[in-house]
Homo-oligomer: 430 residues x 2
């Protein structure tokens, strides 16, 4: 079946960042077949949707998170990082079963869909549950079993599990799921263990995903433990010889920005989580200037506390202007690109999605622009970056299939998920 | 008629920051008559509203803005400040007529109501239009004719206008409107002119509102022009001998924080506008530590670009943690207080509104907490600060009168306002 949405404002985020008024988007069998002015003859299409008064743009791409942690939303805020981790997060996460992961993930998928995220990266445990939820719900994702090297005797079992998960699920769910290999971080995995994980990624021909240089403390500790700061350490272990997506990258010096650029390491910038946990402010303008592929991530809703990526878009456009006292850095169009085109590239699916272009997957969102904060209506990109709330998303399509219609979820039973998520949280011993 | 809303989660923001589960809020003739557990006997009330699954909290207070500037939303972003002002804002504002102010203001009132703001401060020109819109629409506001001392020959006419506006509208619209006297800033008004405005405020017994220390450049210029930084300059001119609300206060040294505290000067912190215009990051934690009454403002939607105060709440809780690398500053409850109880105090109506307490005006908002991002539901304050979008506001009441019902405006014709606002913008010569 072929479908065309007509008369809409199309924010393509293509190479030229074109925006079309009275534009049309045609798609068939999951792929975009037409992007251009609304045609006068629509007889080629089986279905015509009127997009008058609406903005159509690529679905958002959230490149770092832990969906199952939504069960811990608001459980602990405003604490020092170590206290937050050691007395709050870890004790509860330690009780997680596959069922917790299932319902926590579904709760996150609802939020992501309702606010326009169509592709995401997830690093956690019990990943079969996550993959099954993604397969069922229709989103696109790159998933990885995050591996922590403690206790040492569990290392081989965890690596085997990560490897078999990555192998089993890569290119599954009609190709919507891809996988990566993910040592959690240089401070939770020994050098030798990281080398083994790199070797497995090499063998399976998969990219790597890892937390890096999130806090100043972690950077210092790395120097104490291994004589190197995290980027040089990971480079030496061969991580950057694989395609790699690092999360956070807050504390980088100039040489490290050059190092990431020269190895084509992709970065997931998580500005809200980095502020909330007091990690600091990443050097986004400098990373962009050096040509690094930077994307946006929410991190988990335990440190955010939501998965509304429109907030990261606005934050990335605002924060660096204020902190560097330079109002021209990260202009609106660039912020939008981080969350779409560059996000898809960062998670290694840039050939498939991230912009409205013929041949790409039909992953797009429809935004109702009839509310006051979209007016006067003359620069849709500005309004999408600086004015929207995220809850202006009306319809969501992935792979040419509609997942959200007028704010209602078509593939997930929202009421049941909310009830199960509350039940799961209540079960945890606090 | 007496009304009670029952079975709701009540976030009172009273002195003890009490939150009540299964709480009830009773009100009659515009005032709150009951705050407590849901009573078993409801026969005293003419009307009973079920608030199950909803959060009831004080309406938000936005203490700095220029509502009419919403017509310039998204017209110019990401530019150096002087270029933005001189080539974009001022040329268009110079063309503003009373009609532009009217429709720009209505557009802003829609946004404020939809996102839960019930009281606001506005400083602009053609203020009769603003006051009439406030009177019609039912919000609460403190309004002032912002006075710029150029050209010098217009000074007396402007002062007379500001004075007569302040006199005519103070305590009008069933007491919902109060007024202030507002020299725009120390860099747009000469010392002598500021003294005259202070004298008028003294005579009318009104507070003062003024922009202060928004940019580093402005602070330097003040030293060049008058040998003093702005706070000492304004203190010398007698501004702080009146009750005063200053907007921005970004560039303050320790002595200036002490000065503001000792004069009980109130501050409107505008973190999003300060980031977007690259003004910098105000020292919120230090101001709070010294006991200054700090509140939150959006500034205009030309530098924000919306009036969704929930964004300022989250930003104020996040930004200072990240910039000071201290995760315990500005905890959630404090951020919420800035936008409610302390906001009302900052705009000199703290006796009347800003918290849910018996005897205060029935200014409150109802938030639907059935969406995924409010779950697991266990800490409503955390979710209000860190997870809500602002568009979870369902109902808004001011002075015991309902202004928004299930997201629809009861006192403003939204469709007409949007159409007129677009027409007004199109008229401007760009």
């Amino acid at each position: 079946m072929s479908t065309i949405m007509i008369n809409a404002t199309l924010v393509t985020v293509n190479e030229q960042d074109e925006t079309l008024l009275q534009g049309a988007l045609g798609f068939e069998q999951g792929r975009i077949t037409y992007v251009g002015p609304t045609p006068t003859d629509l007889s080629d299409y089986d279905e015509v949707i009127d997009g008058k008064g609406q903005i159509v743009m690529p679905g958002l791409v959230n490149t770092h998170g832990h969906a199952a942690m939504s069960l811990l939303r608001g459980y602990a805020d405003d604490l020092p990082l170590q206290e937050w981790l050691e007395t709050k997060m870890w004790p509860l996460e330690g009780q997680y079963t596959a069922e917790h992961v299932k319902w926590g993930t579904y709760l996150s998928l609802i939020e992501m869909l309702r606010t326009g995220t169509t592709s995401f990266v997830d690093m956690y445990d019990h990943m079969d549950q996550v993959a099954e939820a993604v397969a069922e719900s229709g989103l696109r994702a790159s998933l990885c079993r995050g591996v922590i090297g403690f206790p040492p005797e569990a290392q081989q079992a965890k690596l085997a599990e990560a490897r078999s998960f990555a192998q089993n699920w890569h290119r599954q769910a009609e190709g919507r799921i891809t996988t990566m290999m993910a040592p959690h971080s240089p401070y939770t995995c020994t050098p030798d263990y990281i080398r083994q994980i790199v070797a497995a990624a090499q063998e399976l021909d998969l990219p790597m995903h890892i937390h890096m240089s999130e806090t100043a403390r972690e950077v210092e500790q790395n120097v104490k433990d291994y004589g190197l700061r995290p980027p040089a350490h990971l480079a030496e272990l061969g991580v950057f010889d694989r395609p790699t997506l690092v999360a956070h990258a807050v504390h980088l010096n100039d040489e490290e920005i050059d190092l990431l650029a020269s190895h084509n390491v992709h970065v997931s910038h998580n500005p809200i989580s980095n502020l909330k946990l007091a990690s600091g402010v990443a050097r986004l303008p400098e990373m962009l200037e050096k040509g690094i592929t930077v994307s946006l991530g929410t991190d988990s809703s335990a440190s955010n506390n939501n998965l509304n990526l429109f907030e990261e878009i606005k934050m990335s456009a605002l924060l660096h202007k204020g902190v560097e006292q330079n109002p021209v850095v990260v202009p609106a169009q660039q912020a939008l690109r981080l969350a779409t085109r560059d996000g898809a590239k960062a998670m290694f699916i840039g050939e498939q999605t991230g912009s409205l272009e013929v041949g790409k997957k039909a992953d797009f969102i429809v935004i109702r622009a009839d509310r006051a904060h979209f007016h006067p209506f003359h620069d849709p990109v500005s309004h999408l970056v600086y004015a929207t709330s995220g809850y202006d998303v009306q319809d969501v399509w992935v792979d040419g299939k509609q997942l959200v219609s007028n704010g209602s979820l078509l593939t997930i039973d929202e009421e049941r998920v909310i009830s199960e998520a509350n039940r799961m949280f209540e079960q945890l011993q606090r």
